[in-house]
Symmetry: C2
Subunit: 527 residues, 2 copies
């Protein structure tokens, strides 16, 4: 595929006339061709107008048509082959196995949503049959289904150039729901975005869908994103990125004449609780595994385990010794771009300078790269120093020594909302964990035991979400099939003639989906 | 029950020390005893503290325990007997059959949520079993369920003193979800609120639940509501009332350090489309029925049909003549309180003074009461005069003569979001309605045919919601069992030991609920 540096507005490729920029090789900082022109206000308007025009016909397509479309997108991304992975590795500095895994996940995610579309539970269909003889009043015939909200603005994430970018989880779930998508490609991986964007654009054409189903705009600075979120034709926003960025978009969305939902996945330190039993049984092993999770992808995961609470003792000593050793061998990481590297270094400096903080481990360093680091403190200092609970995006960890888990409870209760909380435990720790769980549940979208939070399964039961400020909306997830619900709303049809009913709510159940009939879960008719 | 004018804070009855007020007989304006003291900041703090303390133990109760509690509340409200209906009639001016129906609906609603708790689909349980041998990576064991958000602030509505007030739909769905509730009783029916509040308080005690599960505060002015929504322990808000009120609360909620969802049901003119076939077949009958719906409860329904579009012709002439006649006989209505009456009169005056508007019908008038009124205009004037699409709360209707339904499409597309859209049609109108439906679906939460929007069924398939500004959050409904979803968020458990798993996600499925296992809808085990 020839890279042109153009944006994709409906079926067209358009050279942006606003400020141009180039991607960079994340490892060397060298500029990469081509140059990408930024979107003007007119480009935003055109993309949103096309999306609005496409909404009606696109949402009228059957789930089967949208499922095939998503599969086509998956196939076309897979067909990009090494050209895509080469470029994504260069633009992000992420290691090849990680990018290859992410490509697989991206295709798998599209196919999972295709399967979900066919399964049909996402339509939440409920039929309450008429009760004409009910006293004192008859009940009308009532039928509920979910319909899509409208065009969705998706902001590509820097740290997942495929799985959370142009055709990532937000785009896949919005397209599945029946919402056209206008993507703001992340400027840190424009060529990766162009390749994937062209694959989606080609799939739209091949599937015979209206061109406005997909557009992709580029731009540096904040104007493009602000205009997108403020555009009255945009009805929801998907975002993965910094807290400042997410909050700024949420503010714009709330101030619109018609406020719209913003699904911003923002920041999380992903606390890890090292229970006494687990430390006694496998302290050293946990220390090594922790460093593996902390330094993966230079720590640039939303679910990176940046904060640990642990019971002092020989087990923790072994953990710290092993973590320190492992970290001493950890190569300095290439970060996604210079801005993230600078923020990381600043965050680490601030931690290092904080009273009551000691350094427990330090990775290798290299010019222009990020060295991993592990700090330590005690629960008292942690409780009194609010900034210690803030995310430092990258491979920086803070271990809090905590002798009394019941005394820690108020500190846990004061923690901000998190994407994940991890517990390392043995059977002996169960009574203690049982006491902590009710608090942990109110703090995170996912609670995991004896694993590491990095590596998010894309499936039905996954929750990649959590209370504010992990996300701007705790009622949802941005990973897994439940993510489709973000872009849907219920509509009830009362006494509509059978000939006018949408397929999902017709008596014959032609989509063959599970439905609740008079409140009772009811299977589809036999094939 | 002796009325004391006290607020209910947990298990206590507390005399409010802020500005006192009395309820009034809506028909006569006479003050009613007792006087109600308003909540101080300390009262808000105490109610929220109790709610926060109750949240943990309350959400840990089984669905069965909460179901029995809701049934107990229903029984205790029923046991209030005529004392409740007498007082509600006096405070609201609503006719007795309406209030009696509403009491039945309120109890039925509580019992429906009890049944829904037992049915269990609301927990949205999903189990993705571990795949330890999957390549390249094993899949962990993942289990998802819904948990409650936390304490909820509920604002009683003036126009539904029972079904949307102290123990109405918002309270019932929040309590069902496992959220403690702090109610702000509407100052227009304080004694009705006290009676119902004491019934709930007694049920909390009898069920052995923590006292903070329910509190009820009173106050005039905005401070109490503002403090409630801003309180960090409140995690969601349910509101039914004016657009100004709902937007003000939403603004406070969005500006909190931790923003929270506000479910405000605000305003709707509930357009009615009179199709040519329907007018030809039964114009006069429709005219009479329309006036019945418009003037019911002095027009003080969220779903009051305030705007009609109709094809000119003999059928419409018959409609207008019959509507005018019926309206001429319509008694002047007692409005809920003097403020609502004044706003109605101002809204009607504004319509009457608008250029291009004619009066088609007028109800009887009486001092201190509201006369129904029907205005008429043409599509062109309507399209050019934005305020004609604004709600005038009460029995005021506006009929828009429209000769060309396809030409009306852009006007319909420009309409604000609505709770309902009604279509009167015959088989002959189906092709035309089929063209309109896709637009109507994007404008309303409920689309109904050959009926009237007043009278909202409480069931599984009901949607009492709709795009902004009908509500602040189109993704939900405030009536029907789906309303419970407003107060829930998903949590995923990864590799949790079986002994620590909540019942909803245990292998044995002890709650005997439907679940999705590896994506497949799976029935509960046989009893």
């Amino acid at each position: 595929m020839e890279l042109t540096g153009e944006m994709l507005i409906g079926a067209q490729a358009v050279r942006g006339e606003d400020k141009a920029f180039k991607g960079r090789d994340a490892a060397t900082g060298a500029e990469l061709e081509p140059s990408y022109g930024g979107a003007t206000t007119a480009d935003v308007d055109r993309a949103c107008a096309l999306a609005a025009a496409a909404f009606g016909p696109y949402r009228a397509t059957s789930p089967e048509v949208r499922a095939r479309f998503l599969e086509l997108v998956a196939d076309k991304i897979a067909a990009l082959g090494d050209a895509l992975t080469d470029r994504a590795c260069a633009e992000t500095g992420l290691p090849r196995p990680r990018i290859e895994g992410e490509r697989g996940r991206t295709a798998g995610q599209l196919k999972l949503f295709a399967a979900e579309l066919r399964e049909g539970s996402w339509q939440d269909v409920r039929l309450d049959p008429a009760l004409p003889d009910r006293k004192p009043l008859p009940r009308p015939d009532l039928r509920l289904r979910m319909i899509p909200l409208g065009p969705v603005a998706v902001f590509g994430a820097s740290n997942f150039p495929l799985a959370f970018s142009v055709a990532g989880g937000d785009t896949a779930s919005a397209l599945a729901a029946g919402c056209p998508v206008v993507v703001k490609g992340h400027p840190a991986h424009p060529a990766t975005s162009e390749m994937v964007g062209r694959a989606v654009q080609a799939a739209v054409a091949e599937a015979g869908l209206p061109e406005g189903v997909f557009s992709m705009l580029f731009g540096i600075g904040n104007r493009l994103g602000e205009e997108l979120v403020a555009d009255p034709r945009i009805k929801a926003v998907g975002f993965t990125g910094s807290r400042a960025g997410g909050l700024a978009l949420a503010k714009i969305a709330a101030a619109r004449p018609e406020p719209i939902p913003v699904y911003a996945e923002m920041s999380s330190v992903n606390p890890v609780l090292l229970m006494p039993g687990a430390l006694a049984a496998r302290g050293a092993e946990l220390g090594r595994a922790f460093v593996g999770s902390l330094t993966m992808g230079a720590g640039q995961f939303c679910t990176n385990p940046g904060l640990l609470f642990a019971t002092p003792g020989p087990g923790l000593d072994a953990f710290v010794a092993a973590a320190g050793d492992a970290m001493g061998d950890a190569a300095a990481g290439v970060m996604l771009h210079a801005g993230i590297l600078a923020a990381y270094q600043k965050g680490v400096e601030r931690l290092a300078e904080t009273r009551g903080i000691e350094q427990l481990g330090k990775g290798l360093t290299a010019d222009g790269r990020a060295g991993a680091v592990l700090f330590g403190t005690d629960a008292d200092t942690f409780g009194k120093t609010p900034h210690l609970a803030e995310e430092v995006f990258g491979a920086a960890g803070l271990l809090v020594r905590n002798g009394d888990w019941d005394a820690l409870m108020p500190i846990l209760q004061e923690l901000e909302g998190q994407l994940t909380i991890t517990i390392h435990m043995t059977e002996a720790d169960e009574p203690l964990v049982a006491r902590l769980l009710p608090v942990l549940e109110t703090k995170a979208g996912r609670i995991l035991v004896n694993g590491w939070p990095t590596g998010v399964e894309v499936s039905h039961a996954m929750v990649h979400g959590g209370p504010f400020p992990a996300t701007s909306d705790s009622r949802t997830t941005s990973v897994g099939t439940l993510a489709i619900r973000r872009f849907l709303r219920p509509v009830c049809y009362q006494n509509l003639p059978a000939t006018l009913l949408p397929e999902a709510v017709q008596d014959a159940n032609p989509l063959r989906i599970w439905r609740r009939v008079d409140g009772v879960v009811t299977p589809p008719p036999p094939a």
